[in-house]
């Protein structure tokens, strides 16, 4: 609990399946904040008992049978426009995240005072829409000042801190969480952490392994009794599958006694080999993302000094073996569940106003240096020499933040009256317009009677807080059109052009 005169800094790992909170303690070190049930790890779950009564966390997850009003894994749908019915209204992933964060904030503030600054972690390949939806959820939860950091980067900070500032060299951070997978290459020198490149898979995590395990158990049930396992008949659910997965991490096989209403006790033996065979496609995806990050960064694996693991799913032997196979190094597994939250708390100390910190906190965290990169390719649509529309990248993924890039384009026709200003985003460098996400499209009026080839200067900027700004400037008139991409907080979870200014 922060003492008087100390900053209350939170790091929140708002995960797909679990949420973990850490704060900077009196000595300036990150410590995990136990939840209202006294646990370090809180299930990310929201249940509606009525339109007004909401239950959060473990209790909500235990109510998961009432699937209509219990929501889990909503993080995967952040920024997508998905919504669910609940007692006569529709709730979005943004609403649910806001409820989760509000509960976390209220619990953290009880007895410790208001939060001065919170850092929320997000997957490295979260779209801008998802990032903005997360920020909006934090605002609705009453968290005043909020920053965000990519999950693998936060884990790297935690490892660098745990090494006592002795980390030196290039490291890979392999973060297999409950719902998403990220891998980052970071250069560390003591507490100076610089992100080199990052890749992510939005739908790959422990939850997917649990689904495969459920399938194996169902097949075992069918083999034993000759009938399908029906939901009302047998109570083996997702939480049981997760528990079974944990047991299979240390044992070659586990005998499960399923309780069926119709068939009584049904014993099923689940072997680790069966789980590994069923999940080889998932593990191979993580391997490809790792190879991709090395490939894109142009770095040979022999240049790595080590590999850090984060996320509970990294405990699976098959996953650790895959990491060793890809990077050629024995990975370091140190408290993988809480590494991301602890790193986020350290980042909060780095971003906080130094005047807020106590002398001890300042002394312990002053050495933190941090360099992040652009998480996506950002560009605009323009016509090539053949008159075909193509995506023209302006800010490349991996450029150091803050970044600002300018390119000049030219009008295509004489007497062109309208300039269509578009902002695109993609995880890979794409020229095909159908393969990129169009995040904004605005038409700018141009003066009449001018010949073709009038220069238009396009400047894209991306700041440390992930705010993207695009300026389209007609050099003939000197009039700029400014597009700032932010969520308008409509609750739809989609990214909106928050501000368009035509000077």
């Amino acid at each position: 609990m922060p003492a008087q005169g100390m900053a209350h800094l939170l790091g929140i790992d708002l995960g797909t399946t679990t949420t973990i909170v850490a704060r900077i303690d009196a000595s300036g070190a990150p410590e995990v904040v136990r939840d209202w049930d006294g646990q370090e790890v809180t299930p990310t779950a929201v249940a509606f008992e009525s339109a007004a009564a909401v239950v959060i966390g473990r209790e909500a997850r235990a109510m998961a049978d009432d699937a209509d009003h219990v929501f889990t894994e909503f993080k995967r749908d952040m920024g997508t426009g998905v919504s669910h019915p609940a007692f006569g209204r529709r709730v979005t992933p943004l609403d649910l995240s806001a409820l989760m964060l509000r509960k976390v904030r209220e619990h953290a503030e009880a007895g410790a005072g208001p939060v001065d600054l919170a850092v929320i972690t997000i997957p490295a390949n979260f779209t801008n829409a998802a990032r903005e939806a997360t920020l909006e959820a934090a605002r609705r939860a009453g968290l005043g000042k909020v920053h965000m950091i990519n999950e693998p980067t936060a884990a790297a900070l935690a490892y660098a801190h745990a090494s006592g500032g002795l980390a030196e060299g290039l490291y890979a951070v392999f973060d297999l969480g409950g719902g998403t997978f990220d891998v980052s290459l970071v250069r560390a020198r003591g507490m100076d952490v610089e992100v080199v490149f990052t890749e992510g898979v939005q739908r790959l995590g422990g939850k997917d392994f649990d689904t495969k395990l459920l399938d194996i158990v169902r097949a075992g049930f069918r083999e034993t009794v000759g009938e399908e396992m029906r939901p009302g008949d047998c109570d083996f659910g997702r939480a049981d599958a997760e528990e079974l997965k944990h047991r299979l991490s240390s044992r070659e096989s586990v005998r499960v006694a399923l309780r069926s209403a119709r068939h009584g006790r049904v014993p099923v033996t689940v072997r680790r080999a069966a789980l590994e065979a069923a999940t080889e496609g998932l593990v191979a995806q993580a391997e490809m993302a790792c190879e991709g990050v090395l490939l894109r960064a142009g770095i040979d694996r022999s240049a790595l000094s080590g590999v850090f693991l984060a996320g509970g799913a990294c405990r699976m032997p098959a996953v650790r073996a895959a990491v060793e196979r890809v990077f050629g190094r024995n990975p370091l597994l140190r408290d993988p569940d809480t590494a991301v939250a602890r790193g986020a708390a350290l980042y909060a100390a780095h971003r906080a106003n130094p005047a807020l910190l106590s002398p001890a906190q300042r002394r312990r965290t002053s050495a933190i240096r941090f360099q992040d990169i652009a998480p996506h390719y950002f560009g605009t649509l323009a016509m090539d020499e053949d008159g075909l529309l193509e995506n023209s990248v302006i800010i490349a993924k991996g450029e150091k933040l803050p970044v600002s890039r300018t390119r000049t384009y030219y009008t295509a026709e004489p007497d062109q009256r309208i300039l269509t200003c578009e902002v695109t985003q993609s995880a890979v460098a794409e020229s095909d317009p159908s393969m990129v996400l169009r995040v904004a499209e605005v038409e700018m009026p141009l003066p009449p009677g001018r010949p073709a080839d009038q220069p238009v200067e396009v400047t894209f900027s991306y700041d440390l807080d992930g705010v993207m700004r695009a300026e389209f400037k007609d050099l003939g008139t000197g009039r700029p059109l400014v597009i700032e991409l932010k969520s308008e907080g409509s609750g739809r979870g989609s990214l909106n052009v928050s501000r368009i200014r035509l000077d």
């Binding site: 997508t80 490809m288 490939l295 995880a427």
Partner: protein
């Protein structure tokens, strides 16, 4: 009896029989009916490569010139519902091996379909038992189910590529496909992308065999 009469009675039937036999051999036979084109005969001209053979097959079914079928249009774009049903038979005639479900072929153009059929043919051949050294992508994925072979073809994986090159190509394609999940507006579209990514993962696992 006069010996001459006896000889005449004896030799006449023999001479008649010999003459009948001789004449029968010389009779003109009706010309054999020209056989209809064998149902096993391939369509494409001799010397065609796999892509051309696939293009000829598609062209025949689509009722378009083979050149048109080879222009990069997919099976889905070329063939209607009825023609798609006939596609497995036609490909079996041309390549000597039956393809997987038609649905798995819809995204392929003629060149990729040709490569897939060659891969299937290769996979259908009996191989000696025991471990052998796998050096090419084709050998590594030969035992995979046909829908995965179709996917490999669709992703542009070449059977003759050595494993490191094939793995690198697949990694690039995986990252490209992975980026598509952000473009999927509906939940079912995102599920489809996710399923596809997992299939690419299974391909990758097969390519790791020769690591």
């Amino acid at each position: 009896m006069d010996p001459l009469v006896i000889a005449a009675f004896t030799l006449t039937p023999c001479a008649a029989a010999a003459a009948w036999l001789l004449l029968r051999g010389k009779r003109t036979r009706p010309a054999p009916r020209r056989r209809a084109r064998s149902h096993t005969a391939p369509l494409a001209p001799k010397g065609s490569d796999d892509g051309e053979r696939a293009a000829w097959t598609l062209a025949k079914l689509a009722g378009v010139p083979p050149k048109k079928a080879a222009e990069g249009r997919t099976v889905e774009a070329l063939l209607g519902t009825a023609a798609r049903k006939r596609l497995p038979d036609a490909l079996e005639r041309e390549f000597g091996v039956r393809p997987p479900d038609v649905d798995a072929l819809l995204g392929l153009d003629a060149a990729r379909l040709g490569r897939l059929m060659r891969q299937l043919k290769r996979g259908s051949k009996a191989r000696p038992a025991g471990r052998r050294r796998v050096t090419t992508a084709g050998e590594a994925i030969a035992d995979l189910p046909p829908p995965l072979l179709a996917l490999a073809s669709e992703l542009g994986l070449r059977a003759e590529w050595e494993l490191p090159k094939a793995r690198e190509h697949l990694t690039k394609e995986y990252l490209r496909q992975n980026a598509r999940i952000h473009l999927a507006a509906k939940a079912e579209d995102r599920d489809a992308v996710q399923a596809r990514l997992e299939e690419i993962g299974r391909l990758r696992r097969a390519l790791a065999a020769g690591r």
